[in-house]
Amino acid sequence: MAYSDKVVDHYNNPRNVGSLDKKDPSVGTGLVGAPECGDVMKLQIKINPETQIIEDAKFKTFGCGSAIASSSLATEWLKGRSVDDALAIKNSAIVKELNLPPVKIHCSVLAEDAIKAAVRDYQHKQTAEKEKAEEAAVNA
């Protein structure tokens, strides 16, 4: 199978590879896929609680070149976006940008899932933080 130039570019020069501190309350972590299925994506976002803007995004992916490219592209798009804008990223946009063939569409779906999972994780953390703060206030 021939890969699109953009997939090859992301594969050779993946953007934003790495990890953020998953214990940090301002970091949301999404881990999607399964080793048995041949794809696992870990996508992390660091959000400014004041502005709700994503200040940093990192990924690590076990998967084919298209899976790596989809998650790499997702981190590029996430940086600087608001949380609501992040949730608006659709897998079809990734397919279009990377010229993914039909058999690789699941890679883009996984990237969209990873974004949603990361945001959900951040929101859970924020709720927990808020509850903790309220509890502390009551006890004070």
Binding site: V8, V32, P35, C37, G38, D39, T61, F62, A117
Partner: protein
């Protein structure tokens, strides 16, 4: 000599035609173009002579007689002819066939088709080393069994089944024995008497001959095997395979067999040396690499390894100037990882991480050195990119993780 890229290391898929084979074939395109079945003129006689010479070359490689060689379009056709031909000929004796789960699709799908027609097929499982035992075959044989079909060398993991022992059991039980020897004949010693095989499939393009030609060994004595043909027509090949003979291709197949017979001992020693260099060069440098299939009962040129925490197709992309293949689902149309690796009990995760290196006649030491460097570099890079590798380094037991995608 300067290294020429890309490097071909996929000799189980196909092999380049040896220049000596090509030279032997050359006159048969334009000059000696007769139909081997034309009995009444020079053109036909010359073609027939070439065919009979090739038949002898093939027969000598496997210690058979010329009359036991039936030329076909390749091993897929030979497998179909052997299995369906026996079933159609001997169905009154019984309706049971024994094969193994790791066989090539040409064998498995032929068996499946017969199942639809009412035949019963036993698919023997394999051990974690990819091998079946002669006792497994013995225990599966019933008084209804008419055929055992077990491949000699596996196309993915290169393991070599104990064909001689299985042949002995079949002979003792009076059951016909077919072996798909596509990856074996011309690569490792093959003697139809020592192995007690009644039918054996083979192909030219796996042994430095041309594509589109192969053959089937059909035993003529003790017992005499008769097949119902699949192709009806002019009654070529003793009625077993009608159709004008592919003279040029058959000449190539014969020459390829002649070269294989002459050069096998020295070639195998050299190829095994390259394979072991490659294996050590990778496994001494990279942790968590697993060889799939038996470590010594395998083809000299085969190395099938899984690189844990790295997906196979992404690894192929990282070594894109080296032609190899992967058991990863992403490299096949089926979206399922290799059924052969699954049959060995290799976890799906490791099946997705597998690479098959197939070394052969034209690989060099320099190519192996280059490959080791490229593979190790790519694996290290992809592990840095792998969340699984990171988790394992942090001490996470991946088997205990509740994966979202499951």
């Amino acid at each position: 000599m300067a290294l020429k890229l890309p490097i071909y290391m996929d000799y189980h898929a196909t092999t380049p035609c040896d220049p000596r084979v090509f030279e032997a074939m050359r006159p048969y395109f334009t000059e000696i173009f007769g139909n081997a079945a034309s009995r009444n003129h020079q053109f036909g006689w010359e073609a027939e002579e070439a065919i009979e010479n090739a038949r002898k070359q093939v027969a000598e490689l496997i210690s058979a007689t010329s009359k036991e060689i039936v030329f076909t379009s390749g091993a897929t056709e030979s497998d179909n002819l052997a299995i369906k031909g026996v079933a159609d000929m001997y169905y009154e004796r019984g309706d049971h066939i024994i094969t193994a789960v790791t066989e090539h699709k040409a064998v498995l799908d032929s068996c499946k088709k017969l199942e639809k027609r009412g035949f019963k097929v036993t698919y023997l499982p394999v051990g974690s080393d990819g091998l079946i035992s002669a006792d497994d075959v013995r225990n599966a044989i019933t008084d209804k069994t008419i055929l055992v079909t077990i491949m000699m060398a596996n196309n993915e993991i290169g393991v070599i089944q104990p064909i001689a022992e299985i042949g002995k059991v079949c002979k003792e039980k009076g059951v016909l024995f077919h072996t798909d020897a596509t990856q074996a004949i011309g690569k490792i010693p093959f003697n139809v008497h020592d192995l007690n095989v009644d039918l054996a499939s083979f192909s030219a393009h796996k042994i430095y001959g041309p594509k589109g030609v192969g053959g089937l060994y059909v035993r003529r004595k003790n017992p005499r095997v008769v097949l119902v043909p699949m192709m009806d027509g002019g009654g070529h090949e003793r009625g077993m395979r009608s159709g004008t003979l592919n003279v040029t291709g058959i000449v190539g197949l014969g020459k390829a067999c002649e070269l294989a017979k002459e050069e096998m001992p020295s070639e195998n020693e050299r190829v095994l040396g390259l394979r072991e260099k490659l294996r050590k060069g990778i496994m001494d440098e990279i942790p968590d690499v697993y060889v799939n299939g038996h470590s010594t009962e395998r083809l000299p040129g085969n190395l099938n390894v899984s690189f844990a925490y790295v997906e196979g197709e992404s690894l192929l992309m990282g070594i894109n100037d080296i032609a190899v293949s992967s058991g990863s689902a992403c490299t096949s149309a089926s979206l399922e990882p290799s059924y052969v690796l699954k049959a060995l009990g290799v976890g799906e995760e490791l099946a997705h991480s597998s690479i098959r290196f197939g070394l052969g006649r034209f690989n060099t030491e320099e190519e192996v050195d280059y490959t080791i460097g490229r593979v190790n570099e790519a694996v290290n890079r992809l592990r840095e990119l792998s969340p699984l590798w990171e988790m394992v380094q942090e001490g996470v037991d991946l088997s205990k993780v509740q994966w979202a995608g499951e």
